[in-house]
Symmetry: C2
Subunit: 374 residues, 2 copies
């Protein structure tokens, strides 16, 4: 149902651009439009499909069964050279102008396509290839109900996995970043995640000042800031959450500078979330959080953008940062993740995944943002 609706939207785009057909080769875009999750598949979408020349989903023999189950509503073509076979189908349907994804197709891929077209035209007029650019990605920016549901479930797993770790004492001095990261990943998998959303970040002590620290053999110690940036993938959709806590030892001690930085980042994050309204300019959303940090004299310690879209990719449109462009719309799924990083000392980042709505944004990552001292 959803997939047919999505194909309908792409068909409207194709018609607007005067195309007879579109070849979708980016696997995530194919998944978005058909539901197919295998490693090889492409879609020929026609502007005016008919019973004799319908849309065609192509894959190879490994996926015949899977395609039948996952893509029951699109004609199936099984061929080792999937894109070439779909291209010949397009020519047979009389397509004169064919759209393709120039941001995905490789230079070699385009040459192969041109050869197929010349062959298939058999001396007649060779169909013209035109890039549709990121037309499917543009459709993907505003999530539909099924997508929001998958994101909600992906966020719930991340929340639950972290809750298990904290409640069972797994975040404690003496463990290494690597072992904590692996346990977090294993718990998300056990809870039904298909995979972690990305390489889980566990950064203790001075490492927390490195925005994208890779977990290593560093041992967690009393008094450390501990930054966890992680997510779960469910039905292909990625959650993304960061929490920073303090390993306070028996006395529950938090250094004054740690508390100060934490409260600052929390205030900036709240300001960023409050700025997530329909029609808001992404640069203004970034500024809402950044200004809070800059006013406290830490502007130079917030070295990245405020957030990004999230969905079938962990980073997708819209980018929310000082160099971004565009406005928010209802249904966009985005992160808000300011940070303050003091090199050599430590850093704090707090990140949520949210859905922009006509009302207040819907918060999907529900783990508390109060400063947690373990």
């Amino acid at each position: 149902m959803r997939h047919a609706e999505r194909r309908g939207r792409l068909r409207a785009t194709a018609a607007e651009r005067g195309l007879d057909a579109v070849l979708v080769t980016d696997l995530l875009n194919v998944r978005y439009l058909t539901g197919f999750t295998g490693s090889n598949g492409a879609l020929l979408l026609r502007t005016d499909p008919s019973p004799t020349h319908p849309d065609v989903f192509g894959t190879d023999g490994r996926y015949t069964t899977q395609a039948g189950t996952q893509v029951p509503d699109v004609e199936l073509l099984v061929d080792r050279d999937t894109v070439a076979a779909l291209t010949r189908e397009a020519v047979r349907g009389g397509a004169g102008r064919i759209g393709y994804e120039s941001h995905h197709l490789t230079v070699d891929g385009l040459h192969a396509l041109e050869e197929v077209l010349a062959d298939a035209a058999a001396g007649g007029r060779v169909p013209e290839l035109t890039s549709i650019r990121r037309a499917v990605e543009e459709l993907r920016v505003e999530k539909d109900a099924d997508e929001v549901d998958a994101l909600r479930r992906a966020c719930a797993i991340a929340d639950a996995a972290l809750a298990e770790l904290t409640s069972q004492g797994a975040l404690r001095p003496g463990r290494t970043e690597l072992s904590v990261g692996r346990e977090l990943d294993a718990r998300m998998l056990a809870m039904g995640a298909e995979a972690p959303s990305f390489e889980t970040i566990v950064a203790a002590g001075a490492n927390s000042a490195i925005p994208h620290h890779r977990p290593d053999a560093t041992v967690l110690a009393d008094g450390d800031l501990l930054k966890l940036d992680f997510g779960a993938t469910v039905d292909g959709y990625h959650s993304d959450m960061t929490r920073t806590l303090v390993l306070g030892g028996a006395g529950g001690h938090v250094a004054a500078w740690q508390r100060e930085v934490y409260q600052l980042v929390a205030a900036a994050q709240a300001a960023g979330r409050a700025a997530l309204t329909v029609g808001a300019d992404v640069v203004a959303v970034d500024a809402a959080a950044r200004d809070v940090i800059a006013a406290a004299g830490h502007g130079e310690h917030f070295s990245h953008g405020l957030g990004h879209g999230v969905g079938l990719e962990i980073h997708e449109a819209p980018g929310i940062g000082p160099r971004g462009a565009g406005r928010l719309a209802a249904g966009m799924a985005v992160t808000v993740e300011p940070g303050v990083y003091l090199p050599g000392h430590g850093g704090v980042r707090i990140e949520d995944t949210l859905i922009v709505t006509d009302d207040a944004p819907e918060l999907l990552t529900l783990t508390s943002k109060e400063l947690l001292v373990l």
Copy 2:
């Protein structure tokens, strides 16, 4: 050390082809040549590097620290638009002919590169772009000692994870394919795998007849064949192993047809392994196993190639199948994985990862291939 050796081999290729520099943009190829594991990086390799115009590794600001650690022996350039910045570097070094990876660079990427070149040439002669095709992949086919070591560790984790599952009774009637798959993945992660090599296949009963079945809610039952195809990733290198066993129930019962198919596939797999010799034609290697199966009247039930290369990718050169081309060389890492699939009944596949040597191939996946009845 290894990375410098590998760059030296690519430099020799570049010199042979009359190139002044090569832009390596495929991330796995960049990793192979530099050791960098981040998500954005590219390498400018010069045919005649000098202190003023050395090789340059490019990445963005997220990876400054990581690049310093992982790529200490190559000049670092940090720029948001990495490939454009490296291209300008190449022009500054006077490169007239620049190689690029046309099987990786997108159509949009090539256009962007051409614009940068035209700009950088500033009215002078615009450097010429020439595809190096899969030159780096060709180097990657024969593994060096570090790579074999990583593969050995990746295979050892898969072996150990399966041993835990079988010894602890985790493969038993009543569980679902999905829960078994998740537990296998979690155990590999707990043992130090970075990730499963691919979506783990767990296929019980009739599902075992589907070569690439995705684990689902199917419940394991007494008398089922149970096919497990999985692997672990270590230092980026993938192991790949399949074992098929029988859930024999209390009586340890195995149906005659199950035993017959198992012994046939095991014999074919042994014949395939025995054919892994330096200089062997990949079609002949495939035939060595396929002929055993065909002679037993099951030719049509072995519907895929015998094996494939494995390394930084789960499927890489050489392909070992009826339509393959080329000969084996020492140091190649390959799988041998014949199968016999009886639709609606069940199937058996047995797969190892091995290294071709001047002597007998080195077996990396050490789990027994005797028929296991649980």
